[in-house]
């Protein structure tokens, strides 16, 4: 039954609707594949086969009655950042111990309301802080893709949504939830030949998502195609009173945008995204992307976003500052793992010293430092003003163009250990994605080519606020033109 697991979400929903197979059969195929593949890939940190079969059978019953939802019977993986009632949720941090939520996140509840089936919880960088999945308390995730040099080095699937990306690329689910604070959906998607979209800030509810940096965090899917991403995102997004930053807007029917023409659209090419040291192959792919969009009738416009180079350093003030505040809740008192000390302060310090990994500790200390007395104006306030300048850059170019085309990442997937010595070198992974988080804009990463080493590369489309439709339209045009159908050779 392995061929069932290779279907796109759209094709699987079609097969379920036509009764070509049942959700139970589909779910069993995924459970079998996860069992054999996960020891090598480590994409899932919790597997829920019994729950999955129960949900699948309930779905088959609903479908027999003609009461199927938009995702009925579709087996999905859930990033370990989403609270799932009764299923361990730790954001892959030791400090949460065996935390088992007594409530459900709004995004996952939206999926279950439409009949989706949960296969388990997916690996990620601890508290979503990382670009390689190396910071997970449950060990790193293997990218199904390998270089064609015969050395078989294990490559990172990217991060923080590395488990989501690896699981989708290796057919261990039809699609997955992910989350994006600085590029954590789009960079792993680019590294694994999958599609990932971060919607406009406020489209999806953050209720029940483990918080990292609240003004930047946003939910989104990683999927096998642009159409699949549209189907998933549409269900994930909703207005939610439980999140005060959730936007009171209708969620459009994005699936229909996927087949709409882009002729007449104006696509901006921001010159500042041509950075020093970028591999020629990425430069060439970007130019190829321009040609593809021209051929589809789009008008290409050179634009400038002058503050682009300041986005990443501003992010590394704002995100750690918000994290240091958000993660103050992990004190070992009400949930999680407590490490007892001689007094209360020693208990706090021991709990947080043992429970948080090195990268999380580093960012919490940076956040505490930039917010501390005497430094607030020089760092945090300045970064928030630079953020305004970055937003204004986008507002200016969006008076001229409908969307922007950029590379998704400055490199293809790298091997474990190649970047981890220098935190700043690791942070540069997000140089093309982080701007959209700071400005709250939607961005999609679409696989577009293989590099000389046989690894996937992605292009990114950034849209205006609330114009995910442009991302889907242009993303689908790239997908059609690229005809990207490469798959990793199965070694796992």
């Amino acid at each position: 039954m392995t061929e069932l697991t290779q279907l796109t979400l759209a094709a699987a929903l079609d097969g379920l609707e036509k009764k070509s197979f049942s959700s139970r059969e589909l779910t069993e195929a995924f459970i079998g594949l996860i069992e054999s593949a996960n020891p090598q890939l480590n994409a899932y940190v919790v597997q829920t086969p019994e729950k999955a079969l129960e949900m699948a059978e309930a779905s088959d019953t609903r479908r027999a009655k003609g009461a199927a939802g938009k995702l009925d019977g579709a087996p999905l993986g859930i990033k370990d950042l989403y609270c799932t009632k009764g299923v361990r949720t730790t954001a892959c941090s030791s400090i949460l111990g065996a935390f088992t939520p007594t409530y459900e996140s709004t995004v996952t509840q939206n999926l279950w309301n439409q009949g989706a089936v949960m296969l388990g919880k997916l690996n990620m960088d601890e508290f979503a802080m990382g670009s390689s999945n190396e910071t997970s308390a449950f060990g790193s995730v293997a990218n199904p893709w390998r270089r064609n040099d015969g050395a078989n080095a294990t490559l990172t699937p990217g991060g923080s949504s590395g488990g989501s990306a690896s699981a989708v690329a290796a057919d261990l689910c039809l699609g997955a939830t992910a989350s994006d604070t600085g590029g954590s959906i789009r960079q792993p998607a680019a590294f694994t030949g999958t599609v990932g979209i971060k919607p406009t800030y406020g489209r999806a509810s953050r209720y029940g998502m483990v918080a990292f940096a609240s003004s930047l965090d946003q939910a989104g899917p990683i999927a096998k195609s642009v159409e699949d991403a549209a189907i998933l995102l549409e269900v994930m997004c909703s207005h939610d009173e439980k999140d005060s930053t959730s936007l009171p807007v209708e969620t459009p029917d994005w699936r229909t945008d996927v087949s709409k023409p882009i002729s007449g659209m104006k696509i901006g090419i921001p010159k500042e995204y041509r950075i020093d040291g970028m591999p020629e192959e990425i430069e060439a792919l970007w130019s190829q992307g321009v040609e593809w969009l021209k051929a589809e009738g789009a008008e290409i416009v050179d634009v400038s976003l002058p503050h682009t180079k300041y986005a990443l350093p501003a992010y590394y003030i704002v995100a750690p500052a918000e994290a240091s505040s958000n993660l103050a809740r992990y004190d070992g008192m009400r949930y999680g793992a407590r490490v007892n000390g001689d007094d209360l302060t020693a208990t706090y310090q021991g709990t947080r010293g043992e429970g948080f990994g090195a990268e999380v500790q580093r960012r919490l200390m940076i956040g505490t430092y930039v917010l501390s007395s005497g430094y607030y104006d020089a760092y945090y306030l300045r970064a928030q003003k630079v953020r305004t300048k970055i937003l204004q850059d986008f507002q200016n170019v969006f008076t001229e163009v409908d969307a922007l085309l950029t590379p998704a990442t400055p490199s293809a997937a790298f091997a474990y250990g190649e970047r981890s010595d220098d935190p700043v070198a690791m942070y540069l992974n997000d140089v093309f994605t982080v701007t959209a988080n700071l400005a709250g804009l939607p961005g999609i990463s679409v696989p577009a080519a293989l590099d000389g080493q046989g690894l996937p590369l992605g292009l990114q489309v950034i849209g205006k606020a609330l114009d995910e439709a442009a991302c889907f339209k242009v993303g689908a045009a790239i997908e059609r033109a690229a005809g990207f159908s490469a798959r990793p050779d199965k070694w796992w």
Binding site: Y316, I317, R338, L344, Q349, K389
Partner: protein
């Protein structure tokens, strides 16, 4: 901007993170590296620029001040490291 061992100790204490003395030099180097890289923000002219305090332009919603949830003692305590008689049990904080 160079971060010293004492700065690391201070910020670790403020962050309530126990840091072994053997890690102080490495952390001082890492934090200095990150902060030096961040310094490039000083090049940006921010005169008269308002700080971005909200991504969403809309006003925060208001609701009636009513109890909408509650009576979930078991749920609230379900993940407590230690609890007794419907309370969290925590280390002594007042001598």
């Amino acid at each position: 901007m160079s971060v010293t061992r004492d700065d690391v100790k201070k910020v670790a204490r403020l962050s309530r993170i126990a840091v072994d003395d053997s890690r102080l030099d490495d952390l001082a180097g890492e934090l200095s590296g990150i902060l030096n890289w961040i310094e490039q923000l000083n090049e940006v002219d921010i005169d008269g620029v308002e700080p971005m305090t909200s991504v969403v332009a809309a006003r925060l919603p208001m609701r009636d001040d009513e109890v909408t949830d509650g009576d979930k003692v078991d749920d609230v305590l379900a993940n407590a490291p230690k609890s007794e008689d419907g309370f969290f049990v925590v280390p002594r904080s007042v001598e």
